[in-house]
Every structure is written in structure tokens, then in C-alpha cells.
Symmetry: C2
């Protein structure tokens, strides 16, 4: 009997949650993912940086502002932002709409190969 090679967790509707941290729920070992919803007009109340981790923010819905090292960027569905560990960052939802986004942390410089170099096509067929 082979070991189970996956974990699944249901976050539910993105606009109904506040913040879900997935690392422990999924037992992930290469990344931490948070799924977040800021209600209209609310902001992360501090600017933060990281020691060794890169972050990528991917915005899912709503409108807001992403502050990075003194610059202010407008974000909404489909905006993707990578921040190097030392970048100072903060986020605010627009006054009129909540802002849903995910944030992924991984150790900077840790990825050695991806996609074609790392993937292996199997002979197995799926059920469909």
C-alpha cells in the first residue's frame, strides 16, 4: 500500500473568509500560502519585510492598493506581484470594495528547476 501523496483543504468562498494559512492544513514543505480577504477600507496595519523568503501576491477580486518601498500600485483581479525578501510591503482595500488575494512564501533562490525540467509525463491514464 503506497503512501498518500496529497492533502486537500476547502477554504470556501474567498469573500467569506478572513485569513486561512495553508501550510499546516496541507502539510506543504516548500511553501506557505495564505488566502486573505480585506473588507472594504481596511488595511494591513504595518509594513513588513522578510528574512529569507520571497513572496508573490496574486489578487483575486476587488480593488486595492499595494504599497512597496514607498511606491503605491493599484491592484485588482489578476495582478501578480513578486517582492524580494527585503522589500517593505503593505496592502489596503479600496473604500468601496473588499479585496481578496493569496500570498505565497518560498525561500528565495530555492527553485532549481521547474515545469519542463522538473515534470515527468506518466503512462498512467486518468479516469476520464
Amino acid at each position: 500500500m503506497s503512501e498518500k501523496r496529497y492533502e486537500i483543504y476547502e477554504c470556501g468562498a474567498f469573500d467569506k473568509l478572513s485569513r486561512v494559512m495553508l501550510k499546516e492544513k496541507l502539510n506543504s514543505s516548500g511553501m506557505e500560502i495564505s488566502v486573505n480577504h480585506l473588507p472594504a477600507g481596511q488595511a494591513i496595519p504595518f509594513v513588513h519585510a522578510h528574512k529569507q523568503n520571497e513572496e508573490v501576491y496574486l489578487f483575486l477580486s476587488g480593488k486595492g492598493l499595494f504599497w512597496i518601498d514607498g511606491e503605491q500600485l493599484e491592484v485588482g483581479e489578476g495582478s501578480a506581484i513578486r517582492v524580494a525578501p527585503a522589500g517593505g510591503r503593505a496592502i489596503k482595500a479600496d473604500e468601496g470594495t473588499g479585496l481578496s488575494y493569496i500570498c505565497i512564501q518560498a525561500k528565495a533562490q530555492s527553485l532549481q528547476q521547474s515545469t519542463r525540467e522538473d515534470g515527468v509525463i506518466l503512462e498512467t491514464q486518468a479516469s476520464w
Copy 2:
């Protein structure tokens, strides 16, 4: 003048794209992220695994099936699935609806610390 510590890329509406690979667009070094949309009834035409990378799939909208090592899971908004490198995986959108999802690759076992251990609150104030 300090080095710019971020990159931004606009993927656009999730249901209008086919597949966007973010690593080169964002210059990320710890992860590769793809943003994907499978039209109704379409499937990834093969089962694949990885050599060294863990993957997390996060489903954004629509309904579909996630096949993993012979099991078939129903997925939709908010479903999050981690797959170990050797897991065989495939995805299919339901007949009646397209399926939007992101897939993140990071090297398994590469994350040494996260969130509270890795984060640093700065004295800087954001613009709001």
C-alpha cells in the same frame, strides 16, 4: 539609489486567459506559478509527476475533477490541494463550466521558516 525589490504583472481576468506562467514575468526565484483556465469539458491530456518539486493547486472558480493516484476529487472555489513530487495528477473541467486555478511549484523541503519566524515588522509607515 536602492535596487527595485518587486515586479508586477497583470494577468487580467481569470476566465479570459488560457495559461500564464509567472516565473519569468516576475523574476521569481523560489517558486513558479501558473494561472490557468480550462474551458468547460476540457482536461489536461496527460497525468504528470515531478522530480523534486511539490505543487499546490488552488481552485478559483468553476467546477471540476482532480485526479490523483487513482482517486478522483471534486474541486471548486477555494479547494486547495498539495501534491508530493511523485504523485500522479490530472485535472478536468466539468461539462457545464470552465475551471480557473493556479498551480504553484516549489522545491519540496526547501522552506526553512515562514510567517512569524521569517517576517520582520518595519518602522516605516505606508502612504495611507
